[in-house]
Amino acid sequence: MRKIWTVARTEYLNAIRSKAFIIGIILLPVMMSGSLIVGKLTKDKVDIRPRKLAVVDQTGWLAPKLEARANTRNEKDIFDPVNKEKQVRPAFTIERVDAASADEKLEVTLSDRVRKKDLFAFLIIRSNIVDTAATNTVSYFTETASFMELPNWLNGVLTDEITRKRFEGAGVDQALVQKLTKPVNVRQLGLAEVDQSGQVIKAKETNRMATFMIPFASMMMMFMLVMSSAPALLNSVLEEKMQKIAEVLISSVTPFELMAGKLIGTVFVSLTLSVLYLGGAALIMTQMALTGYVNPALLVWFVVFQLLGLLIFGSIFIAIGSACNEIRDAQSLMSPAMMMIVLPMFCLVPVLESPTSSFSRAISLFPPATPMLMTLRIASKPGPPLWEILLGVLLCAAFTCFCLWAAAKVFRIGILSQGQSPTIGKLIKWVFSK
């Protein structure tokens, strides 16, 4: 046992002292906070040069309306709401173009003006725009299609004006129609409860964002923790084998002690990561006042399933690493193992949408998928019954024992084998060899 801890300690220290770990730890929060900071810093760095729009209006009445609406916007809507002096959005200026000559030649002429930066864009409004049966009645021409603010504004303003015109034409009171067609808003609530004193605790309005995000984030975190730790074991073992370190180690420790030490070291690396990530997540949730949506039991089950997931996938990757002689060998054997890790990701949406369905219950009890999918179900409301969680732990623990046993058998033979490229058939043979 002492030697297992010696190996585990060294594996752990090697990992957390590695540049990859330190960069990973620092980079994630830096990237997250960096994007927020950059977003904040660049928020005011908007290109506020005026955008000049030429309008070819065949209706004869829409261009003045557009001009009036643009003027109103330029006076009120392009300034910082706090600092009224500071312009934060570009002004739109309208240039009316004689509609009598609206033909292909005019389109070319206006396109040339856009190319010469004399105009930002131009708009052609057909005379039949009010006709509900007509199509392609408005065309917007630009060479900067990524700038969406102007076409979005035009969409809104034109829809507004044309709808008003249509109502007027039909002799219907638009204000009355809007009042009568007001949409019904269904409030989504949790469940009401009765406290110990018999008082009814009213159901609270559910936070769609929180109820979706917490299960999703829990599973993604589990996926990231497994992905960042288990495959690294393959590289670590392969390096020891390729650099002939394994023989030195095996002269001092048994193959099982070496494998167990490496697995335990990796588990501790992963736990360190999860403490950092979960701590960060808790901080963010406290800031966003979302802590009430997290069941404390989720944290306990998260750690339990994280351990089981790491031992399952860690032992699989360690066995593959020990059997291979070079990275090329490992790549072909890694694919099935990676598929097992990624499988729960394919089931994310159906399980998230319906965590208590037969499919969700069955797939979350399939041991390789249990750590991630059971975590997802526990984080989703109403969560699985306790017996299902315990059954998941039991099945997963049994599968973990099998994986450790099989990996130990493969590791014992593989770690000193040379020359032959391993196949899945050969690994199975090693598992059942004496």
């Binding site: 002492r2 030697k3 010696t6 190996v7 060294t10 090697n14 590695s18 020891e240 650099q243 002939k244 370190i245 394994a246 023989e247 030195v248 180690l249 095996i250 002269s251 001092s252 420790v253 048994t254 000193l416």
Partner: protein, 317 residues
């Protein structure tokens, strides 16, 4: 475990550090080691020689219980059939195994810890060995910064740090320049003086002759030589003659009974199972003899006689 105390060291050691009895190891249908019996006396330096692939490393791995024998018994430091003696064995494998991204000192402490030596006890030993090997400035550097010779010395330190009772060195001198070779040779002899039994395999027959109390040669899995150098040479008798004649090798053309085994440039070595006086007369009749010395065969000659290509062909026939 801390470093061994004097009382541990003074406990009566077994007569044989290694005692193999009828040991056989197969890989599939290939017999790597066949019915091998070998006793390595405690405190001796035992040289393992043999062509590549003859079974030296397999024998060493069985002594370390990295491989388990298919049959026979393996007793190491008085303990039979278990790895329990491994903490008392230092091992330097043929291909060096060092963590490139670890510092020299940290890696040595790790290897010592795997042998059960605490960091506190191993620290001063690491410093002492680094100083002795002239590697003190490299202690804090990553292994990848070391030259091949330095890495070799670091690997040696890792093998002797725990003050083992048995030190197994697989090709310890390969790739070393003469200066470093002398440093390592002297270190091995010092370790032996402190009571450690040393087994080392080598392809360098001169080194084996100079350093080993006993020589063991394995060929195609079978023991073909085992004993002191003198006893092995005596087996072959004084059938070797060192000879220098005017006109060199060409002058010996057609002389009956002359079989040149090695041409050293300055002299020839020939094998003569017959009467040396008669041979001398025959040679003197054809060329002027400058040197004629009757001697026993060198270990190199014995090795070549056993493992030369003709023997292989005969064996295959």
């Amino acid at each position: 475990m801390a470093l061994r105390t004097k009382s541990d060291m003074s406990a009566a050691p077994p007569s044989f550090a290694v005692n193999l009895v009828d040991v056989t190891k197969r890989f599939g249908t290939q017999v790597a080691v066949n019915n091998l019996s070998l006793q390595v006396p405690t405190g001796s330096i035992y040289g393992f020689i043999g062509p590549n692939g003859s079974g030296k490393t397999t024998t060493i791995r069985m002594i370390l219980h990295i491989f388990l024998a298919d049959s026979g018994t393996v007793e190491v430091l008085g303990r039979q059939g278990t790895r329990s003696a491994n903490d008392d064995i230092g091992y330097l494998p043929e291909e060096r195994g060092l963590y490139k991204k670890m510092t020299v000192r940290r890696m040595l402490l790790y290897y010592a810890a795997l042998k059960g030596v605490s960091e506190k006890a191993a620290g001063p030993e690491v410093d002492r060995w680094l100083e002795r090997m002239d590697l003190t400035p490299w202690g804090k550097k990553n292994v990848e910064a070391l030259s091949k010779g330095m890495a070799q010395k670091v690997q040696f330190i890792s093998a002797v740090l725990s003050k083992p009772k048995l030190l197994i060195l697989d090709e310890p001198f390969s790739g070393l320049d003469p200066v470093n070779l002398e440093v390592l040779r002297s270190a091995i002899l010092d370790v032996r003086k402190q009571g450690t039994t040393v087994i080392f395999s080598t392809h360098n027959m001169t080194t084996a002759e100079e350093m080993c109390d006993y020589i063991f040669m394995i060929y195609r899995g079978n023991k073909v030589l085992d004993g002191t150098l003198a006893s092995i040479r005596a087996t072959y008798g004084e059938d070797t003659i060192r000879l220098r004649v005017q006109g060199g090798r060409a002058a010996l053309q057609g002389v009956e009974g002359v079989e040149v085994t090695r041409d050293f440039g300055q002299h020839l070595e020939i094998r003569n199972p017959g009467d040396p006086q008669a041979l001398l007369q025959r040679i003197a009749a054809k060329a002027r003899v400058e040197l004629f010395e009757v001697t026993t065969p060198s270990l190199h000659d014995i090795f070549v006689r056993i493992a030369r290509p003709e023997t292989k062909e005969e064996a295959n026939a």
